[in-house]
Amino acid sequence: MIHIENLTYTYPRAPRPALDHISLDIPQGQFCAVIGANGAGKTTLCYALTGFIPNFYRGKLEGRVQVAGRDVLTTPLSELAGEIGLVFDNPFNQITGARFSVREEVAFGLENLGVPREEMLARVEEVLARTGLAELAERSPFTLSGGQQQRLAIASVLVMRPQVLVLDEPTSQLDPVGTKEVFSVLRDLAATRETTIVLTEHKLEWVAVFADRVIALAEGRIVADGPPHQVLAAPDLERYGIGQTRYTQAARHAQARGLAAPDKPLPVTLEQAVAFFTSLMSVAEGDVMR
């Protein structure tokens, strides 16, 4: 679904590339999380996937980006808008301000495409239900909580039925309740396997639980790529300014103290951590019985 080949991009007047020889294939329906320190290139990658680069930002670009069979670098943004949706970190940047209700806001993109009324209404209602906004349909977007606004931003992108949904730190401005709301929408969306999801996120516990795949960026390069339990537990990512969950940290500390075998795979979720430490305790109890 997404094919990136040797992509290198440098912002105007920047001393070094923001993306440096990135090659990447993401199959349809995959939920792919992109992690990395601030300034590692996460947002730039989101912009490259959605055509913001090079359409809005100039600079120097080499390589290829294909999404849903289209060349992002040469296809006009208006044509890409139906295939690829981008959700920003701050829902205020996304909500048009030109519509007075949640329902009208969600319909805005379809109105611009001239979708027939009956179809538009049906699609809007379907998306409102999927994002848990049906009961808020008549409310003004500006009276919503942060989590509700971000779900509205996602709804107004989803209604376009994009094949690829790109979200750039969608929960960074949200409290834990809002974060949970957004991830529950993403989880339901991922379960259908219809939409390919690319998400940049600092909240690693959520990434560990929900993503199929994690890509770690540092200084514009891919430094790790694999399933969450591999990438999020990789010890060498610390030097790139990438953290770990407390579950992984606790398990590593237990290994350092000789409480756990040094080659025992490290946990990245609560569930895995419970299994990791329960097995340590049951080994201990087994020894007593022996």
Partner: protein, 281 residues
């Protein structure tokens, strides 16, 4: 300099009752995390501490000052407040001037200003960026400019409103070091934060708020072990608390080291000292 919030109620002009009869005493040198969901009253309470809001009922004292009898500018000598959104407080043309604004306004000598600004910029890791325009920095670093501006004022009390928002692992480590340094200097550090893991590790006392009231207040591990209180405040316990609970370990370990020590103790109590699972505790 002690903080005394006594029976404070506050209603916004919109009619929302944001604080209901809140009493909270904080001694000089304490580190306190105020947690709770949006709308719980955390920021309203914090804004009472630097005089941005004055109590409708009850009283707030910062040392011997009643906040109703002092201006925000006067209270700024005693309470530094780093806002959640740095753009609410940044207005100078370069980072140095931004950080120097507060100390100058407090009447510090130029030599003191020089020393305090230099130290604050170093502490937040922006020493090479003094001549840049704040808005040429990314948001995560603008937050550190705003924090430096507060640190340079050398107030006995420092309030950090959502300091971890938008920070990556390095930013979090730097913040942690700043909080620990403030604690070591005996300054009072108060944070309002949704980052419960950060609060657990670096603050010695936790105040849980919901609906404009204080639901719990006490030493961090004691408060974080009260999962039913946290649930009532809609706060998810820290990762290590959840893990300890799932494993049946007692209390709420605040750090990775404390968690592993509790685990080791449990293992010691079940394992014969001669088996291979014996280890140095």
């Amino acid at each position: 300099m002690n903080i005394r919030v006594d029976a404070v109620s506050f209603r916004y002009p919109s009619g929302v009752l944001a604080l209901r009869d809140v009493t909270l005493h904080i001694a000089q040198g304490e580190s306190v995390a105020i947690i709770g969901e949006n709308g719980a009253g955390k920021t309203t309470l914090a804004k009472h501490l630097n005089g941005l809001l004055k109590p409708e009922r009850g009283s707030v004292h910062i040392g011997d000052w009643d906040t109703r009898e002092h201006t925000v500018a006067q209270l700024a000598r005693r309470v530094g407040y780093a806002f959640q959104n740095p753009d609410d407080q940044l207005f100078e043309d370069n980072v140095w001037e931004e950080v120097a604004f507060g100390p100058r306004n407090l009447g510090q000598s130029e030599a003191e200003v020089q020393a305090h600004v230099t130290a604050a910029l170093e502490q937040v890791g922006l020493e090479g960026m003094a001549q840049l325009h704040p808005y040429d920095l990314p948001a995560s670093q603008r937050k550190f400019v705003a924090l430096a501006a507060v640190l340079a004022m050398r107030t006995p009390i420092v309030i950090l409103d959502e300091p971890t928002t938008g920070q990556d692992a390095r930013g979090l480590a730097r913040l942690a070091a700043i909080v620990e340094a403030l604690k070591a200097e005996g300054r009072t550090v108060i944070t309002i934060s949704h980052d419960i893991d950060f609060c657990a590790e670096h603050f010695e006392r936790v105040v849980v708020m919901a609906g404009g009231m204080i639901l719990a207040d006490g030493p961090t591990s004691a408060v974080l072990a009260q999962s039913e209180v946290l649930a009532r405040a809609d706060v998810e316990p820290p990762q290590l608390s959840r893990l300890a609970l799932a494993l049946g370990l007692p209390g709420a370990p605040r750090t990775v080291e404390a968690f592993v020590a509790a685990l080791a103790e449990r293992a010691m109590s079940t394992v014969n000292r001669d088996t291979r699972m014996t280890f140095d505790v």
